[in-house]
Symmetry: C2
Subunit: 407 residues, 2 copies
Amino acid sequence: MSGLPPTDRTPDVPGSPAPGASQEEIRRQNLGAVLRHVHVHGPTSRAELTTRLGLNRSTIRALAADLAAAGLVTEGAPTTARRAGRPSLVVSPRSTRVYARAMTIEPDRLRAARVGLGGRILDLREIEYPRGTSPCDAVRPLAWLVRDMDRSAGPDAVCVGAAVAVTDTTQGRDGRIRIGGPDEALRAAFDAEFPGGPAVVAGDMADIAALAEQVRGVAAGVNDLVYLHGGPGVSAGIIIGGRLVRGHGGHSGKVGHMVVNPHGLPCRCGSHGCWETEIGEAALLRHAGRDQESPDAVYEVLRAAADGEPQARAAVDQVADWLGFGVANLVNVVNPDTVVFGGSLREVYLAGAETVHRRLAELALPASREHVQLRPAALGRTAALVGAAELAFAHLLADPLNNACPA
Amino acid sequence: MSGLPPTDRTPDVPGSPAPGASQEEIRRQNLGAVLRHVHVHGPTSRAELTTRLGLNRSTIRALAADLAAAGLVTEGAPTTARRAGRPSLVVSPRSTRVYARAMTIEPDRLRAARVGLGGRILDLREIEYPRGTSPCDAVRPLAWLVRDMDRSAGPDAVCVGAAVAVTDTTQGRDGRIRIGGPDEALRAAFDAEFPGGPAVVAGDMADIAALAEQVRGVAAGVNDLVYLHGGPGVSAGIIIGGRLVRGHGGHSGKVGHMVVNPHGLPCRCGSHGCWETEIGEAALLRHAGRDQESPDAVYEVLRAAADGEPQARAAVDQVADWLGFGVANLVNVVNPDTVVFGGSLREVYLAGAETVHRRLAELALPASREHVQLRPAALGRTAALVGAAELAFAHLLADPLNNACPA
């Protein structure tokens, strides 16, 4: 007897038969596997690729040659020879040639980066952006940043993809928040700004930051992960079994609107007692007796709590208490291996970790709780850009030769 | 601009490179795809398989011949010729020859079935089983039922897999429930009873029922699904993006222990205000003023509510209210396309649908709520057996020729 079959090869659900695999499809998969390996793990010898990917030496040699001819990798002698005999050539991503446009539309600023294959940030620009402005109005200034960066790229640089991380929560004129509004309009606006360029893929900010932490951050290699992002609102990116849990309309992870307190305060969404009303930035400021809502005010409260100011300390404890409460619910529902705290929740977690752990111990089931790790996010403010680049590279990694521009 | 790439081919997470694909692997995938198609959809002409699987005619002919030689399918002329010309041969699963052993360890009974390839229940036995007995003690009587069924199978029948659906929640002597306890012991007990036979795969009851409803029930073909099961406890099987959300230890879906009422009653798990304390069978009986806790008592309350007895009606309304509350939270967290109510929650949902929908409308975010369908389970008490059979067939469907016994 064993658990449910965990392999990626066995579809859990026989309802949707996998389409047949062809020769071309195998080659595509193998090219993608090699390129993805050097993209995630950096320069890798052919010998190690052979071992890691379970392909024979001549196949790896042919695949690497194809990727090199497409201008995606270089092959060269290792910098240090580790054993006798002819050294195995090292395959490296062409990080300065092949890049993605990564963009974020954040509550108070816009950011754009050129991110090279391999995850290296080659260039980064940002501008302030008034809170509450529609994401569509961000497209023109973002495009301006991107074109400015493109101009300073080398003459052989090739853009292979573009993605934007956007909070899919917008506040309407009535003050109520709406989710999932601007997708179509945003697509049209980007298409108009970048005619002929790689299409801009949009992803939810928390999903994208979760991806970033899972590929290059504190949860590298973790398969079952909840990434919690705190800002004006609270949302999550959930990765289970190595795959993003997106949901039917891509709206999963709206954990800020999980009702945790049936007798709680009204929420921006029109409901009452949502988790956001207990752990959002506004809640921390309210408990701390601060009026003004801004990231600076939040960090000021956290600093004051660290300095021992009683009201600030009590505010952090109260928010940490509700933070542990909701994390326990998520642990019971999705059984993650790791919970990562990002945005301002990173600092709240660090300041109130003991309280969070105590609440978790009280409320989460032992089998799920005993193995869960709580971690502050590692990538900080670059998470969304790094994750957006991963999203932008996805097409190239899935089918390298049909999405590359040979040198 | 488009959403996150939804295809199964593009790994969402570049962190885990797919192993390289070989010739053998393609053939295995294609054989699996053909067999899975006739297993799920029933007898299918070669012409339709060609279209549905995107493979050419000669490939389908060769694959079908291999599957027929392995004794897994038959090929024959269609019963009704639909157009002129030579009719395309029809490929059918050998349902009476190739079967799985499907078993369930339910709170008050044990059931075992022989389920033929294609999902046909060929034989079914059940016996009562005292509540609260350890799952390991169920293995011997289950094995007895299975051997009795095996003896009445035809001489050419071949068992290709075995699985058991088990509630991974057990009640200790202190009255507290534990989750995820008996796996190792259960495995050893099954191995001892079936030496040499196909290993018995264990799965969580709610996960398995979710699979069944998704393959052959009310959610056939739905990719994003929450299946809620009500019994003495409440748990869920969650399928998102066509894959079971299992979690790190396979303990996801313990939604009965999501705290919905911080000031609520003590729960069997040691916490307070868990969803189970508001929508479990005990809650319904408590509100209805009934002492005795049994499935019969639950259905008696539901009947009384339908007949208009005020206290029973009020009890159903109160449970339905909390049912809608928790469903709203799950809709916000995982954004399913469909929520299926099974076990005694099926009847509670049917009796209180209006209340459930009202609560959902109040508490769930419009983007996630507007598209969600609420549905009573279709397969009833056979869901767990049908789902266990799917689990048992998984190995055969992943690699037909290495898991079949040629005739």
